[in-house]
């Protein structure tokens, strides 16, 4: 049997706890990031071949994320998620290095998106690129 006093203590403690929970739970939920509904795109036209000079890179928008389209010196197209795998800066194609470069901490990726020097721990994620006539499309891989 619990005595009257500890019963009251328990009741009081429980009430305070429930009260706090009733305040904190909605506040925590309120602060949680909202899911912003996004028309799920899986494929996107980024332009026509003429828009992209040889040996250059262009940042494009893929939904809310930046992508990097590279038209290499041999005329081949490649596309990557432009978000650096280190700490999320936006990378760029540097023709003087023939590589993808991240200015935040001197990270480098080769032309296939593989991390080759500096702090990035993983390769860049790659998009598939298709040509339809002279139009350039990128799409999510897999």
């Amino acid at each position: 049997m619990i005595d009257r006093r500890s019963f009251l203590d328990w009741l009081l403690g429980g009430t305070v706890f429930a009260g706090l929970a009733a305040i904190l739970y909605p506040a925590a939920r309120y602060l949680e990031p909202q899911e912003i509904p996004e028309a799920a795109i899986s494929s996107l036209k980024v332009g026509t071949i003429e828009d992209f000079p040889l040996d250059s890179g262009t940042i494009f928008k893929f939904g809310r994320k930046p992508g990097l389209l590279i038209h290499d010196a041999d005329g081949k197209f490649r596309a990557f998620h432009a978000t650096c795998t280190h700490l999320s800066c936006v990378v760029q194609y540097r023709k003087d290095m023939g590589a993808i470069y991240c200015a935040c901490h001197n990270g480098r990726f080769d032309i296939n998106g593989k991390n080759i020097s500096g702090p990035p721990p993983r390769p860049l994620e790659e998009f598939d690129v298709h040509l339809k006539g002279n139009e350039v499309y990128v799409s999510l891989r897999g």
């Binding site: 700490l87 999320s88 800066c89 936006v90 200015a103 935040c104």
Partner: protein, 360 residues
């Protein structure tokens, strides 16, 4: 005192017992010795906080905390509003000096061992004030919504996200979305102008209350000194007047810096451009940022970043707990060792900060 003054005083005294307050002020005294100058450092930090509150409230009259208009509103403050440039430059310069003085104040307390009994809680509340100051700097940096701040905040919050366990929820709370976006700016704005000022004033009040109740600390070696060899400056009016004189000088320095060396605004943030070269954090985060550069990407299968964060987390915790390790009764050797560690910490911070600005 003039007659009217004393009449007013009497009237108030009957109601509020002012005599007790005057007695308290006139008995308050500040020890005089070779390191007395350190007793001024906290006051300067507090004064600069007041400058921040005043200039910050003025900025609020024109600043707009949304991604569409934040950059433009700061540009408007700088170019159109009369003396807007001055207010912004004062806010930026005084912010940096405030953080500098918070650091100096902390090290002064550390090396004079003023954190020992009975002042442990004063030290702990001071550590909280340091973190809040850094939070002010970090959140304020993003507000102009320029390119450098945008990428620095991406990097900074990503590092927060790498902290084991609490990192991910903290990252979501700060960013309010998956990435640094307009939502992040709104949150940082709210944190900067409402949450932090509220918390800061609360904890600063406790900090000051503790200091007033306990009086100024005396150097440990004074314990064995006869009363006749200790000397003091009365707090009221002598010390307080010197405080005022120093604060005026500090304000003048802030004004000169603000006029001679204006703060850049740079380019508006654009999530769809490549990060420019020269992304760097504010100078007070530089030593940590620079350390992370020297840690390899992987150390025995732990990611370098995480290792660095754990090291700084542990180091910071030990630093915050120094009143627990180094007590009044601690042995002399141990006490000297703690001081040596402090010295190494200061040298490390200075060296890595310099490296951060000079190495490429």
């Amino acid at each position: 005192m003039t007659r009217t003054d004393s009449k007013l005083y009497d009237q108030l005294n009957v109601r509020f017992k002012l005599d007790a307050l005057v007695a308290f002020l006139s008995s308050k005294k500040v020890p005089r010795h070779s390191h007395s100058i350190f007793y001024y450092t906290g006051g300067v930090a507090m004064f600069l906080f007041v400058v921040q509150v005043c200039s910050g409230i003025l900025l609020l009259m024109y600043y707009k905390g949304s991604a569409d208009s934040a950059f433009e509103s700061v540009r408007y403050i700088m170019s159109e509003v009369p003396f807007g440039w001055l207010i912004r430059d004062i806010h930026s310069w005084s912010a940096n000096l405030m953080i500098l003085f918070v650091f100096i104040h902390m090290f002064a307390v550390f090396f004079t061992k003023a954190y020992r009994f009975p002042r442990e809680l004063t030290w702990f509340s001071g550590i909280l004030l340091l973190f809040l100051s850094l939070g002010f700097g970090f959140s304020g940096y993003l507000l102009p919504w320029n390119e450098l701040a945008f990428f620095a905040t991406k990097v900074g919050t990503d590092i927060v996200g790498a902290v084991p366990l609490i990192g991910e929820p903290l990252l979501e709370f700060l960013r309010g979305s998956e990435d640094v976006t307009a939502t992040t700016l709104s949150r940082f704005f709210g944190i900067h102008v409402a949450i932090l000022p509220g918390l800061f004033v609360l904890i600063l009040s406790m900090h000051l209350l503790f200091v007033q109740r306990q009086g100024m600390s005396e150097p440990p070696r004074w314990k064995d000194l006869p009363e006749s060899e200790k000397s003091y400056t009365p707090f009221f009016p002598d010390f307080l007047l010197r405080d005022f004189a120093l604060w005026s000088a500090v304000l003048a320095v802030v004004a000169v810096l603000a006029v001679l060396s204006p703060w850049e605004l740079g380019l508006k943030a654009d999530p769809f451009t490549s990060a420019p070269a020269g992304i760097k954090p504010e100078w007070y985060f530089m030593f940590m940022f620079q350390t992370l550069k020297y840690i390899p990407a992987h150390v025995m299968s732990i990611e370098g970043e995480i290792l660095g964060i754990l090291m700084f987390g542990l180091g910071g915790l030990l630093w915050a707990l120094v009143p627990v390790f180094d007590r009044d009764g601690s042995r002399k050797r141990w006490s000297r060792f703690v001081r040596l560690v402090g010295l190494i910490v200061v040298l490390y911070i200075i060296a890595l900060t310099i490296l951060g600005y000079t190495s490429t």
